[in-house]
Symmetry: C2
Subunit: 309 residues, 2 copies
């Protein structure tokens, strides 16, 4: 099974690379055994423990609300200064008692200090933007074989959807569902992590390279996506009493073991992840009558699960 699908992705990858971002017009693969194609669930069931890694406690945030916990993994490879600053803000308790102040349908929810008056102790209020970064050795990238509307190449770096330019020189995170970014004003360097937003709708990819993305929600998205939508411009809540309180944000590493979530995520630099990609590209089973044989980066699931023990 995995060999068959490895062959398919191999063929199509070559095609996509040869045309350098061009639509691959090669004939679509019509496997005779479409009915028996593995689903994502099948692939995950057949995975081995080494296909998974625990979330990094030094880069994992727990955002606590009355409705529950939202788990965010930060992306220091892409936004080292913002990530360091957000961790500093978290450690000085900056977010505790602040609120979600905006929920715009099919777009983002946003939290922070609307008044911008809460004192900051050791962290910075603003930072130079980190919209994109140079590709560094040791940075994993599992490229997807299909054309993307917005970027020359798209794929995954760790659990994060990312894009690269045609020359493979620069890379940036892409605005998929659940991605977390640092809000800013008109000045590119006016963000810093004191206001963070989370994508709750169709991927607003036009924001790519316009905002510093800092991480991804790994668990608890439904607590954010169901927040009441704000009725003021851009989905801001009309009145302060509509704001949704944040109890606290903590770094996993700062909590005792028994208070941590113990989640793990599927590694994206593995044959198992490539099999996941193929499972969503080549749909089979009883229900699907047509397989797109393609997938867009924001439609590839990166599995998260409770550590088996």
């Amino acid at each position: 099974m995995s060999f068959q699908f490895a062959q398919k992705i191999g063929t199509q990858s070559i095609c996509a690379l040869a045309l350098l971002g061009a639509f691959c017009i090669a004939e679509r693969v019509h496997a005779e055994d479409a009915k028996s194609r593995p689903t994502v669930a099948d692939v995950l069931k057949a995975s081995s423990p080494s296909d998974w890694r625990p979330l990094d406690p030094e880069n994992t945030l727990y955002l606590e609300m009355a409705s529950g916990r939202v788990v965010i993994e930060l992306a220091p490879q892409f936004a080292p200064n913002h990530v360091a600053n957000i961790k500093a803000l978290v450690r000085e308790g900056y977010f505790d008692g602040l609120d979600f102040i905006r929920a715009q349908d099919n777009y983002v929810v946003q939290f922070g200090d609307a008044s911008e008056t809460k004192p900051i102790k050791t962290a910075q209020r603003t930072l130079k933007q980190e919209f994109a970064t140079t590709v560094k050795s040791g940075m994993s990238f599992t490229a997807l074989p299909d054309a993307d509307t917005y970027a020359a190449r798209v794929g995954f770096t760790g659990p994060f959807p990312s894009a690269r330019d045609a020359k493979n020189e620069n890379t940036w995170l892409t605005h998929c569902y659940g991605m977390v970014g640092a809000g800013r004003d008109a000045d590119a360097d006016s963000g810093g992590g004191t206001e963070l937003y989370v994508v709750i709708g169709n991927a607003p990819r036009h924001l790519d390279r316009n905002v510093t993305l800092v991480g991804r929600v790994m668990q608890g998205m439904e607590l954010l996506s169901t927040l009441p939508r704000g009725t003021a411009a851009m989905g801001f809540y009309d009145k302060p009493e509509q704001n949704v309180p944040i109890k606290s944000i903590r770094l996993a590493a700062d909590l005792p073991e028994e208070q941590r979530a113990h989640l793990e995520t599927l590694r994206t630099d593995t044959p198992t992840f490539k099999a996941v990609v193929n499972a969503v590209r080549f749909r089979g089973g009883d229900w699907f009558k047509y397989s797109a044989d393609r997938v867009e980066v924001c439609n590839v699931p990166v599995a998260v699960r409770q550590h088996p023990q």
Copy 2:
């Protein structure tokens, strides 16, 4: 302003057509006046009354919930039999008192009769699928100039995002945010409109040509996107008491004038709509630092507004 942008779209369209669906690698347009590029709001403000059309009362549904009204426009050009059947179901009161029974995060909400026991009077329970249809003369199609991961061509037919094959022979609606589809079982012909779902997350384009899409939510999406997520498999509600009741669904034409919503939508077969497309492709103003110069079909807004009178 519109001449300038018409030129741009002209150039890029030719390029895209010449390569037949290939990524257009032409140099991106770097207007010197990026700061003064019009926004969607600018374009709409400059529109004329003839750029808009009222929703068709004969194909507009009002779904009434405790939280308010959801307005859906049906797409008889794409799914004539399903649309006729849904109208028949509506007129016999089939949906009144049924429930939303499923809300799966980043995917769909779904309503209908979970028990499948509610009697149907004149309508059909199932119909032959209408996943795609042949392109007919008189069917408008405003193509987008940018590459799409899933289809040879994408664009708009009326207010509906749609796709076409490379030969321009077949067309189908695409699964963007707010699109409404007829749920089915494994058999392609097992749907019919008694169970309808609405996309509430990132566009699940792999469903294209696998389900009969029947229309689009034109107003009230926030009432659906914030429904509590179900905790059973596929987001179904665990217990019947979690279901969210539907008071009624009515056809606009069947209501007296004073109870109708009087919405109108931007026509997509107009230069004004092309200017909207360009406004989201070529971003300017003070905030944007980088313009993608491209747009994906599910990121193009189709404006809906209250009729000015």
